[in-house]
């Protein structure tokens, strides 16, 4: 299967960093997922063959890491942290606000395919809680109003 030139450049740069091929597996999977949206059977087969692994081994690894998914997700993955630092500052309110606004629950995707909502564990934004990540972007010191603006911003971005 075909990946972007950017992916290929990254892959080519990464593999020689390690004494064993499979060491590049985890970052490679994440980069592939960024590009395809999820780790499809085709992606798994391709990466397995590139790194001399069985598909089973690749699946074993994928299923271990919480950022990796074999199921399609929305364009924007809204990951709201509700771990302790965020929880005591209203992280759950943010999560529920998102759920209400988007009309979806944990790990569900809006019908337009724009948003997936996910309750996540600590994302390392504790001193700026409550916090969320949309894809890789951090959004911190959240309030429900701020979250509204953020989600609207992403929606606008998608429709532009």
């Amino acid at each position: 299967m075909k990946f972007s030139d950017e992916f290929e450049a990254r892959f080519a740069e990464m593999v020689p960093h390690y004494p064993t091929k499979r060491s590049a597996l985890v970052p490679t999977l994440l980069y592939a997922q960024d590009e395809v949206g999820f780790l499809s059977d085709e992606v798994i087969a391709e990466i397995a063959s590139r790194l001399d692994l069985t598909e089973l081994e690749v699946r074993n690894v994928i299923s271990y890491y919480s950022m990796l998914t074999t199921k399609p997700r929305g364009k924007f993955n809204v990951q709201v942290c509700t771990n302790i630092s965020c929880m005591v500052r209203g992280g759950e309110d943010i999560l529920h606000h998102c759920a209400k606004k988007l009309g979806i629950g944990h790990k569900q995707t809006t019908p337009d395919g724009l948003f997936t909502l996910e309750e996540v564990e600590c994302i390392g934004a504790c001193s700026w809680a409550p916090a969320a990540q949309v894809n890789y972007d951090f959004h911190e010191n959240l309030t429900t109003e701020k979250m509204d603006r953020i989600l609207d911003e992403y929606k606008k971005k998608a429709t532009q």
Partner: protein, 816 residues
């Protein structure tokens, strides 16, 4: 792996392993290690340095419980059941990962440890369904046993248990996640033991589960090792599940009837309408060389026994149709016809085809019956290896054959031809695990990139048909290198390989049917120059070796003695003076009308050896078989035979290891081949005492007992049996023939006690007869793989059901 010679890749831990370095164990390091002394529960324990604490405890009878620890598999430390107190260590330590140390003081039984074990079980049972009453493993479940020994009676758990639907991964493998305790034994035995790597661990935490290689199903060797090694009922067998309770079965340890490796299989048998039904095969008691290894055939392919097409009454061709008849009528007819032909046209008008799956006693009896009763040397069988050549070449050489057990311990192995993974699964297991656990060096020469190349120190791919040239080259014929040299393996590489082999001590040289006749002589000439080299010649079926040893040849008697004369047999048997016809010869004689009668015992030459079904249309054909095979349908008389699981006796595997075959049960309406041969002889008016030396033995107490009081009689009977002195009361007792075999067949004078105890006794060819040169084309390898087994395999639904039997897929790559 590229074709060609990868010479001298020493296995410095480079064998494919998915386990991190910390979990790998190299048992070879334990050899030559100094002993250390430690104290366990106040007892002094001495063990070689490097021994695991859990194993050291075993040696003094201290049980440290565990689920995930399994001898010879990588260490996990996962189940935490083996926690023990090691002095000076703040936390409890896992005995399965702790190596013994000098002066170590260990406590395995304290309140703290009891509590640790109890809580592990409580936590396990939290999510474990308590469906023991309907669980296949109920009654033989390690979790039950552990809970009984170390657990608590009360349950603190009141939440809903995590549930996941049961999955069927293949016709023979079912997985029930809720029952799984994640000991990872299945994953390891599949990967490390089988080198299949079809199982993995997916997800994490409490959602962790064992996953098959094809997402929702398995594509593998279907060996079922994962099921047998499962301590609970998480992995269950499609062949056995929900059929019975373990305590309702009779467990009979016997020998697998399929390939020539001679695995012990313990059959679970229960009563059924037809007499008996085998419902399970395993070898959990690890009797036999195979330990707990069995392939799909040994584990599941017993189901032919209850196939509905099984013949259960004699058939006589009447008005062109095979019609049911009584045993009396049938034996009378066969006896009359055979006697008529013998008396009118002479014994040479009768042909006899023996079996590669009957017992040694039956093969011997048939060989004797042909010579002595039918007065013919027209005897043959489906040959898949050139044992007469092996015997001739090894004659006079002591300890020149290797046993199956030797393969696991040899420092080096040379394998030419064959694909043991497919054709000799136990041999492949022995080789693989010897390489993995003892770092044995494996030299492979094969025309195909066979799977064992992954374990090989050196793999050389050679053109098909040049295996014999390899033998010549190794034995010093440098000219043969011209035929072998290729761009990937030049002459120098060949010479280097030979030099390397010359340095090996105690090398086991294993070869397939590709090497026959003079090539065997060359190979043995080469091996005999090495210190301690031993040989294994690979033949295809459960008693192919026995058929050969017992003289199912037109020119050879039991023990490879020529029919021409010069053996003990000539003193006792009246043997026709000239060599008889081999199978092709009999076919020709049939076509020309010279062969008036043909007696086929447990063989299907028409179905398996491409023989014209009309070749014998002028002959009186008698077939003994379980099914109406291609050969049976053209017969005049068909006798319904019992199979190897329904009779007693001995069998010899391809290495020459003889083992006791035990009768697991019987199907009403069948008879063992042994009995049928005797009854035909009887119907021919032959004095069966001269065929089967029954009535011998002794009733005298031989000073062993003072009378039949209070158990003395029992003890006496056991003693007599152990000496082979128990009275054989009927001509149908195979032990009477075994007496004769042990007396007359060279190399079979093995310990009767050991045989009866279920052990393996290695026979020797040192004192065999001189043999006779056989035509190379008389060898017809069966090419049975993991999912076929000659005619028998066609009647095993399990073998036919697995998808791997329908498609041949290349093996997946091994990863680092």
């Amino acid at each position: 792996m590229p074709a060609g010679l990868r010479l001298l890749r020493e296995c410095e831990g480079e064998t494919p392993s998915r386990q991190p370095a910390g979990r790998r164990r190299d048992k070879s390091r334990l050899l030559n290690m100094a002993d250390v002394t430690l104290t366990v529960d106040g007892k002094k324990v001495t063990a070689p340095a490097g021994t695991l604490l859990i194993e050291a405890c075993k040696t003094v009878g201290i049980e440290v419980p565990s689920f995930c620890y399994y001898p010879n598999l990588s260490l996990q430390g996962a189940c935490r059941m083996c926690l023990v107190k090691v002095e000076k260590m703040p936390k409890l330590q896992t005995a399965c990962t702790t190596v013994v140390g000098e002066g170590m003081v260990v406590i395995t039984d304290s309140d703290e440890i009891k509590q640790a074990r109890k809580s592990m079980l409580e936590m396990l049972l939290g999510n474990h369904p308590l469906d023991c009453p309907v669980c296949d493993a109920g009654g033989e479940c390690e979790l039950q046993d552990m809970t009984f020994s170390y657990g608590a009676a009360e349950s603190k758990f009141m939440e809903a248990k995590n549930h996941k639907e049961e999955q069927q991964w293949s016709p023979v493998v079912f997985f029930d996640r809720p029952r799984c305790i994640l000991c990872y034994r299945c994953v390891r035995v599949c990967g490390e033991g089988m080198d299949v790597w079809a199982l993995g661990v997916q997800n994490r935490g409490v959602s962790s589960l064992i996953a098959p290689n094809k997402e929702d199903h398995l594509e593998c060797e279907e060996c079922g090792m994962c099921i047998d090694i499962c301590p609970v009922g998480a992995l269950t067998s499609g062949a056995y599940r929900y059929k019975t309770r373990p305590w309702e079965m009779k467990h009979v340890g016997t020998v697998c009837t399929h390939c020539g490796d001679g695995c012990k299989t313990t059959l679970g048998v229960r009563r059924s309408d037809t007499g008996m039904e085998i419902v399970r095969g395993d070898n959990r008691d690890k009797s036999g060389t195979n330990g707990d290894f069995l392939c799909i055939k040994g584990r599941y392919a017993f189901d032919f026994a209850n196939h509905e097409e099984r013949l259960t009454q004699p058939l006589i061709r009447k008005n062109g149709k095979l019609t049911p008849a009584t045993w009396e009528e049938t034996f009378a007819l066969v006896g009359k016809k055979f006697a008529e032909v013998r008396d009118k046209d002479g014994g040479s008008a009768i042909g006899v085809i023996g079996s590669t799956r009957t017992t040694n006693e039956e093969a011997y009896l048939l060989s004797k019956f042909a010579r002595v009763v039918l007065k013919t040397n027209n005897v043959d069988h489906h040959r898949t290896a050139d044992f007469p050549a092996l015997s001739a070449a090894l004659r006079g050489k002591p300890d020149a054959t290797a046993s199956m057990a030797d393969v696991y311990n040899a420092p080096a192995i040379l394998l030419i031809g064959n694909d043991p993974t497919e054709q000799h699964p136990l041999l492949a297991w022995q080789i693989r695990n010897n390489v993995r656990l003892h770092r044995a060096r494996l030299y492979l020469l094969n025309s195909q990139p066979i799977k064992l190349r992954r374990q090989a120190t050196s793999f050389t791919q050679i053109p098909a048909g040049t295996e014999g040239k390899v033998a010549s080259f190794l034995s010093g014929d440098d000219a043969a290198a011209n035929a072998l040299a290729s761009p990937s393996t030049n002459r120098d590489a060949w010479t280097a390989l030979r030099d390397k082999l010359h340095e090996e001590k105690n090398l086991i040289i294993i070869f397939g049917a590709e090497i026959r006749g003079n090539d065997i002589a060359s190979l043995i000439a080469f091996g005999s120059a090495l210190e301690g080299a031993k040989f294994i010649c690979l033949a295809d079926y459960a008693n192919s070796r026995g058929a050969a040893d017992m003289g199912l040849y037109p020119d050879l008697l039991p023990g490879y003695h020529p029919t021409a004369g010069g053996s003990d047999f000539h003193q006792e048997w009246a043997i026709p003076p000239t060599a008889g016809l081999d199978l092709p010869g009999m076919v020709e004689a049939g076509k020309s009308g010279k062969l008036k009668a043909l007696y086929v015992v447990g063989s299907n030459p028409i179905g398996r050896l491409n023989i014209d079904p009309f070749a014998c249309s002028k002959s009186f054909v008698v077939v003994q078989d379980m099914f109406l095979t291609e050969t049976a349908v053209i017969a005049d008389v068909v006798l319904p035979a019992a199979n190897a699981y329904e009779k007693s006796g001995t069998m010899t595997n391809t290495c020459g290891d003889v083992q006791l075959v035990k009768k697991a049960g019987e199907i009403s309406g069948t008879k063992a081949d042994f009995e049928m041969i005797v009854r035909i002889a009887d119907a021919m008016g032959f004095d069966v005492r001269k065929l089967v030396p029954f009535g011998g033995g002794t009733h005298a107490d031989m000073g062993q007992s003072r009378g039949a009081q209070s158990g003395e009689a029992d003890r006496h009977a056991v003693w007599l049996e152990m000496q082979g002195l128990e009275p054989k009361l009927t001509p149908l007792d195979p032990m009477a023939i075994l007496d004769e075999i042990q007396r007359l067949v060279p190399g079979y004078d093995v310990s009767r006690v050991n045989l009866l105890a279920g052990n393996i006794e290695h026979t020797s060819l040192t004192k065999s007869g001189p043999g006779a040169a056989q035509k190379p084309e008389s060898i017809s390898p069966a090419h049975d793989g993991l999912f076929t087994s000659g005619t028998l395999g066609r009647y095993s639904r399990t073998l036919k059901s697995v998808m791997e039997s329908h498609e041949v897929k290349p093996a997946e790559v091994a990863a680092d």
